[in-house]
């Protein structure tokens, strides 16, 4: 606004002054009409932009001037008053933006994602189908700089629950799943120390947390994911990141939870809590390079016949320009009271992805052995293509081929075409 005062000096011409005054008054009129309705940061930002555009327009038009040479001191005063009002108005808008930004940051936010699939298989007798796979809603809130809340409710396969209208409470029809996948509170003390309490996805490897359809290459996840380390933890975790140098950092996540069980969220089936740890180092190699490992122990795993379960795994995630690679290995050792029943469960995958403009092309090799007691292992080769219509919508095509170690089981190929979208801002 300093510039405004410099340009509008007393030597301006009369009609130029009248022109500017009238425009300022019109501007103020427009602003006051906006004031009544603007209630979001976006609206205020737009309003400021309009104000600035108008001021610029006024300045440029006024500076052109005319041929009249009549001075009028009172018009000058009017001009200066109008400009002063306009400046105040601009400052007020900036103040309002600040205030609304704070409110905006601390209000509850709703986001989500959804995906629809068309699936088929070369297995005889298996029909192609459309699948309304996911509709997930996230409700989050930041209370202040230290405390925040996060939740996710997933509706899988377009659930429908229809009760019998006879007061019995029985269901006439039930299909699909409604699942509270995450509900947790975070206390963020510093970058190196944070605490999370509630239900959260197991901090194990990569895919366990990083599995959301709009952001992963395939709808089909690697076979061992959620089968060696549990899908989620009901408990508490401490996590953080510490820089060793300017570009090398380590992060940790240590957690304690109920462990897996058939009853989730209400009570633990045993008195032994599951514990886990994930460590990761980020190195300044290529554009991103992370190496990590995960440990998990549950002395009485209710989901696996009360076995004493110990699992470990390691992972690598790297990106160089348009090329991304990631891989995970995990092995669980399950020991029972009868040693004859003991077994190992093992899985790994390696994925390569090439990003080309809005396209991703890739390949994944995947291996899973449910237990080493028999010929149960499966190898899977997958190819995929993703097209990112924009930052929120992704179209995917993927083909997977399973090869079974058990020669009596035929190889199976299946494909999925899907559209997935992120519903956040």
């Amino acid at each position: 606004m300093v510039e405004v005062r410099e340009i509008f000096n007393p030597s301006d011409y009369m009609n130029r002054i009248k022109f500017v005054v009238s425009n300022c008054l019109i501007t103020m009129l427009i602003l006051s009409s906006f004031n009544a309705s603007a209630n979001t940061v976006e609206e205020l930002e737009k309003r400021i932009q309009q104000l600035e555009n108008l001021v610029e327009k006024l300045l440029s038009e006024a500076s052109v001037g005319t041929e009249l040479d009549v001075k009028n001191e009172s018009d000058d005063e009017d001009i200066n008053r109008s400009i002063s009002d306009l400046t105040l108005e601009l400052e007020e808008q900036h103040y309002l933006i600040e205030e609304l930004s704070k409110k905006d940051e601390y209000r509850m936010k709703v986001a989500g994602y959804a995906d629809v699939e068309y699936k088929g298989s070369d297995t005889p007798g298996v029909s192609e189908e459309f699948r309304m796979h996911h509709l997930s809603l996230f409700f989050t809130r930041k209370f202040d700089n230290k405390f925040k809340f996060f939740s996710e409710i997933e509706y899988e396969d377009a659930p429908k629950f229809d009760g019998v209208n006879d007061g019995s409470g029985d269901l006439d029809e039930a299909s699909g799943t409604i699942f509270v996948e995450a509900v947790n509170f975070d206390w963020n003390y510093s970058q190196a120390l944070n605490v999370r309490v509630g239900r959260f996805f197991s901090p194990a490897g990569i895919w366990s947390e990083d599995h959301y359809p709009p952001f992963v290459a395939t709808q089909e996840r690697p076979m061992h994911i959620f089968r060696i380390f549990p899908q989620f933890v009901d408990g508490v975790s401490g996590y953080g990141r510490q820089f060793l140098t300017d570009s090398i950092s380590v992060d940790y996540n240590i957690f304690l939870g109920n462990g897996e069980s058939s009853i989730s969220g209400k009570k633990d089936l045993n008195s032994n809590k599951a514990t886990g740890f994930r460590g990761r180092i980020q190195l300044p190699i290529w554009d991103e390079f992370n190496l990590g490992f995960t440990l998990y122990n549950d002395n009485e795993d209710s989901a696996n016949g009360n076995a004493d379960k110990f699992a470990y795994g390691y992972h690598l995630e790297a990106r160089y320009h348009n090329i991304s690679v990631q891989g995970e290995y995990a092995l669980a050792n399950l020991e029972f009271s009868d040693e004859v029943l003991d077994y190992d469960r093992e899985g790994y995958y390696a994925q390569f992805k090439y990003h080309l403009n809005d396209w991703d092309l890739g390949y994944r090799y995947d291996y899973y052995d449910e237990n080493n007691l028999g010929k149960n292992s499966v190898k899977r080769n997958s190819i995929f293509v993703n097209f990112h219509l924009n930052e929120a919508i992704t179209l995917k095509g993927e083909y997977h081929r399973n090869q079974y170690r058990n020669s009596s089981v035929d190889d199976v190929g299946f494909y999925t075409f899907s559209i997935s979208t992120y519903l956040g801002n």
Binding site: E105, N390, E391, Y422
Partner: protein, 143 residues
């Protein structure tokens, strides 16, 4: 054969076309911020790997809209990824609940204003904003 050559040439242009935004882009922080900020640190901030300044203050990260040419240039030169990939990266961190700093997307004129007003802020702006850069310190220049 000629058609095939033309098609190949067009595909080559589509796939390997360079970012044509000619303006210089400046990464700026508040003038009161005395941290030494390297290009690697800028990258870590915009990959949400570093969320605090040296005194422990949370970094206020400003981004430009996805379709902004300055963001295209910043993402390609600093992060080695497209603006769409960068935005998907932020969204992914939000949904998997690993986000440290929620980035704020603002038009460049407001980024300049906010960075000049907030001591903990960082943003980047095109050269055309240079006249409005009072109160900010340039920490990186992307030509």
């Amino acid at each position: 054969m000629r058609k095939l050559k033309s098609l190949t040439f067009i595909m080559f242009l589509c796939f390997f076309s360079e970012n044509a935004f000619s303006e210089t882009v400046y990464v700026v922080v508040n003038e009161k911020n005395t941290d030494i900020i390297s290009p690697e640190m800028v990258k870590l901030i915009y990959l949400d790997k570093n969320s605090v300044w040296s005194d422990g203050t949370e970094i206020l990260v400003f981004e430009l809209p996805v379709k902004s040419e300055a963001r295209e240039k910043f993402c390609q030169e600093v992060l080695n990824m497209s603006p769409i990939s960068s935005q998907r990266y932020w969204s992914n961190r939000f949904v998997n609940n690993t986000i440290q700093n929620e980035v704020k997307i603002k038009p460049h004129r407001l980024v300049t204003r906010f960075v000049s007003a907030k001591e903990s802020a960082i943003g980047y702006i095109p050269e055309s904003e240079i006249d409005n850069m009072q109160g900010v310190r340039i920490v990186m220049t992307i030509n």
